[in-house]
């Protein structure tokens, strides 16, 4: 006892032990009181919202966890979550949530209202990726069951691999709010569920076989009860949200066009069709465009906002499709690009940019952060401009100027 009193550290440890031990042993197992949510789906059917959560369920004595889907309904997202908690006797833990999926019905009204309850969670949910699906989020979440093929592995791989490459620049809740507060529109990626036909299913689909996942029912309400196989399909489509409401769908080619404005997407592809110079005959040449740089300058010219995009592209032939390819063609290429080919590439890129421009001017959405850039770098001229326009900014009034430089990728 004397030793204990003299030894301060031992005394401290003993005190801490006495205080913490009773509360520690009386604490319930956290996995029994809280759902470890990995993905959330939000659907709207009629006046009600249906929330589907995909949770990791650990089992004692097993190394593997399983995934379960649970659903709940309510008049608001928060109420639906609360009802879901009541039904399953657990609270919702969003610390490990990676994806939030919503269907088309949800974004017919303002998405901000639906995301609000996620933003106000104690756990930070800002980096959860937003995904749109045309049918039901519940179906998308329910099309996987086994951990070997878990939803978040398949989808996360899809997102992680495709993010900032080719078509996608996945947006998080934080990005959504940044664009919403910044008076911009935002492009959200679309992922679909497709019924897999048994006949001819092997290899016939367009490059998404790695995304296929064994479908199946979810006893707790997630997805279809059909034994048929379903697969997640990512076709590089987008939806545009303006003021939180869905404005328009973008097809794969429209997405591709728009992405030439996106400097975050550094890897792109390009095709020059029916090329008849440099020894080629009716050749379709595919290019890998890597380390694409896009410098953006904004200014005012004669009281008209000007958006100048200077694109620098490093390209490499990835495939040449021509019936008359000969050894001479390979020798002539020799890792070089002729000035004719460079011009073709330049024209093709600018054509894509014009198409994208035409699209966002037609639908009047600003995903290229034009207003934001004008506010940041041309605040005073913008103020004057807006005074004349009754404080209404429209992308339709912006003059777009393109400059493209093409280099051979070393």
């Amino acid at each position: 006892m004397k030793y204990l009193i003299k030894n301060k550290i031992l005394l401290l440890l003993l005190l801490l032990f006495i205080i913490l031990f009773p509360s520690a042993i009386s604490m319930p197992q956290q996995s029994k009181s809280e759902n470890i949510i990995t993905a959330v789906g939000v659907d709207k059917s009629g006046e009600e919202y249906e929330i589907t959560i995909q949770c990791l369920v650990p089992y004692a004595g097993s190394i593997q966890e399983t995934l379960e889907n649970y659903s709940g309904k309510g008049k608001s997202v928060d109420e639906a979550l609360e009802n879901l908690n009541l039904d399953y006797g657990k609270t919702s833990g969003f610390a490990h949530c990676r994806v939030l999926i919503f269907n088309d019905e949800v974004v017919k009204e303002n998405l901000t209202e639906k995301l609000d309850c996620f933003l106000r969670r104690k756990t930070n949910t800002n980096n959860i990726i937003l995904i749109s699906t045309p049918k039901e989020a519940k179906e998308l979440l329910g099309c996987v069951k086994n951990l070997d093929d878990v939803f978040y592995v398949v989808l996360s791989n899809n997102i992680a691999t495709n993010d900032q490459r080719h078509y996608q620049d996945f947006k998080s809740i934080g990005d959504y709010y940044a664009s919403y507060f910044g008076k911009e529109s935002i492009a959200i990626d679309v992922i679909k569920v497709e019924e897999e036909k048994k006949e001819g299913s092997g290899g016939s689909s367009s490059g998404s076989s790695e995304n296929s996942s064994s479908g199946g029912d979810s006893s707790s309400g997630g997805g279809s009860s059909s034994p048929s196989q379903k697969k997640i399909k990512n076709e590089g489509e987008l939806i545009i949200l303006k003021n939180g409401v869905k404005l328009v769908n973008l097809s794969k080619s429209e997405t591709e066009n728009l992405n030439w404005f996106n400097k975050e997407i550094r890897d792109k592809t390009l095709t020059i069709k029916n090329y008849n110079k440099d020894g080629y005959k009716d050749a379709d040449i595919n290019f890998e465009c890597q380390h694409t740089k896009a410098n953006i300058e904004v200014s005012f010219k004669d009281n008209t906002p000007v958006y100048k995009l200077k694109t620098t592209v490093y390209v490499r032939r990835s495939e040449v499709l021509s019936k008359d390819l000969s050894m001479k063609n390979y020798e002539a290429e020799n890792g070089n690009l002729s000035s004719d080919l460079k011009n073709e590439i330049k024209n093709e890129i600018e054509k894509k940019l014009r198409k994208a421009e035409e699209h966002f001017k037609t639908y009047d959405y600003d995903v290229v952060k034009c207003y934001d850039r004008l506010y940041k770098f041309q605040k005073k001229p913008l103020k004057k401009y807006l005074e004349k326009k009754d404080n209404k900014f429209s992308i339709k009034d912006v003059q777009f100027v393109y400059e493209t430089e093409v280099f051979n990728q070393p």
Partner: protein, 365 residues
């Protein structure tokens, strides 16, 4: 008295004292006032703060071998010295209980769905009292052990932020006008951290480059804090108001689907240590000031008394950090400006006028 604290230990103490609380809630609070320009104004505030460091270093050099209370006795007489120490006690005490609440909220928000305030407060205060009872020398060694970990944490956070930041977010510069920055005096409670040096007066090991090392290190910390504010705003832009725990939230900029997972949890744990060290340092300040303001006997009883007082104030405020923030911004700021900025500069001026020639003041011990 044995001179037991090395230059490195003092630098570490200052580093923790300056940065622990500023890199947590302050970026969010400042963004609420001055938005994207918070890094400009924090830099100005830190430079003002730095003047206090210079003043205290001057006193430290001029009155070598003297403790702070001895300097005050020498300059102002016994009664005024005690009054000044009482003001410092209040200053450190306020810092302690606001930090205490901030730490509770930080843990409660990030690691637990619900964390009993009693279960948090009692073990933490026991640890703080234990550290104080072991003395400044032992605690300085604890600092040497943990502060490198905190430095690594800050560097990782900063680099992660830089990798995902969009620096166009900081434009247009001075959007709300420079006068808007005047409002920041209301955040004085989050500054004045160099005053912790008073605890170390007369207790520093001889080092010829002491001043240079301390000044350069503190300037380095000022640059890092300013950069952190800059990167934090560049990373989150308009969303910065949604991020109350800057140091760990900056790591959440990594996409949720990245393989790293909840990377921020590592930093949450590191920063809990930093906050504990910061609370203990300010507790040392309160304990030191209380003893010299009132009586020196029963040191353990004094530290227990201060701990109970911190607990009681927090209990009355229901561990609600937002009540404290509002109170600190609206009322305590005037007191903090006086004790954290004006008082050290006044002591410096009196020391300059009255103190006699440098190094000529006799050792009064």
């Amino acid at each position: 008295m044995n001179k037991t604290v090395s230059t490195r230990q003092i630098i570490f103490a200052l580093l923790i004292s300056i940065s622990a609380i500023k890199l947590l809630l302050l970026p969010n609070l400042l963004a609420g006032e001055v938005e994207r320009d918070s890094y400009i104004f924090i830099f100005i505030m830190l430079i003002f703060d730095f003047l206090v460091l210079l003043a205290l270093l001057f006193l430290m050099n001029k009155f070598k071998n003297m403790t702070f209370i001895e300097i005050l006795d020498h300059l102002f007489g016994r009664f005024v010295a005690r009054c000044i120490m009482f003001l410092f006690f209040l200053f450190f005490f306020i810092k302690c209980f606001t930090m205490f609440q901030t730490t509770y909220v930080y843990l409660n928000e990030n690691l637990y769905s619900f964390f009993s305030p009693f279960l948090f407060a009692i073990p933490l205060l026991i640890c703080v009292v234990f550290c104080v009872s072991c003395g400044l020398n032992s605690f300085s060694r604890v600092l040497e052990f943990f502060v490198p970990l905190v430095i690594v944490g800050v560097i990782v956070a900063l680099l992660t932020g830089v990798s995902r930041a969009d620096f166009t977010n900081i434009f247009p510069l001075l959007d709300g006008g420079i006068l808007k920055g005047l409002n920041l005096f209301r955040f004085a409670n989050w500054f004045g951290d160099y005053t912790i040096l008073i605890v170390f007066f007369g207790n520093v090991k001889e080092d010829k480059k002491f001043n240079l090392k301390v000044i350069l290190s503190c300037l380095g910390v000022i640059v890092v804090i300013t950069l952190f504010f800059l990167v934090f705003y560049a990373t989150y832009g308009y969303n910065v108001v949604c991020h109350t725990n800057a140091i760990s939230d900056i790591l959440q900029v990594l996409p949720s689907v990245s393989d790293i997972g909840s990377f921020d949890w590592i930093l949450i744990l590191i920063w809990d240590i930093a906050l504990f060290l910061c609370i203990t340092l300010n507790f040392f300040g309160a304990y030191y000031s209380f003893r010299h303001a009132f009586f020196k006997k029963f040191p353990l009883a004094i530290s227990i008394f201060i701990a109970l007082l911190i607990f009681l104030v927090n209990y009355l405020l229901k561990f609600n950090v937002y009540i404290s923030i509002s109170f600190a911004k609206n009322y305590l700021c005037y007191f903090s400006i006086f004790v954290g900025f004006i008082l050290p500069l006044l002591i410096f001026i009196v020391g300059l006028i009255k103190g006699g020639k440098k190094n000529e003041v006799p050792n009064q011990k």
